[in-house]
Symmetry: C2
Subunit: 85 residues, 2 copies
């Protein structure tokens, strides 16, 4: 079966505070990079899916995001799939 | 000054083990998604940079990655910059 590569971002919902990001925004000033603001920090996940088609791979990857990788109360996810080299 | 948006992935070096990713790969089996393998987990960071040009923004964002956001002993980073809407 062909393999597909998924790249997933799991980020804190825009409506929520992101304390880790806030702390890093503050640190930017201290290292002389005050031009950098609005830092938000989430997870990036890459994985491989074995599936018969790109659509099937997308479905499987979405399922993994919903069941395991993201917490919909606090996070949203973005997903891109491409054929694996 | 114009604003730019940077999207940054900080991932564990490919030569290194990623225990968190390994654990999640194992969990995929338990939730009926054995087709998913090779999970690797890192950080995704989005931030805004105020700079005179895209090149200047890229430089500032790279500096922030090297000085604060990534640990080059264990991680590598990927960076994309675009004009902020």
């Amino acid at each position: 079966m062909p393999k597909f590569k998924a790249e997933i971002n799991v980020m804190p919902l825009k409506a929520l505070l992101d304390p880790q990001g806030k702390a890093v925004t503050g640190s930017m000033k201290n290292i002389g990079l005050a031009e950098i603001t609005n830092v938000r920090i989430g997870k990036h996940i890459s994985l491989e899916v074995e599936a018969s088609s790109k659509e099937a791979a997308q479905k499987k990857a979405e399922e993994s995001c919903k069941k395991l990788l993201s917490n919909p109360i606090m996070e949203y996810f973005e997903l891109t799939i491409e054929a694996s080299k």
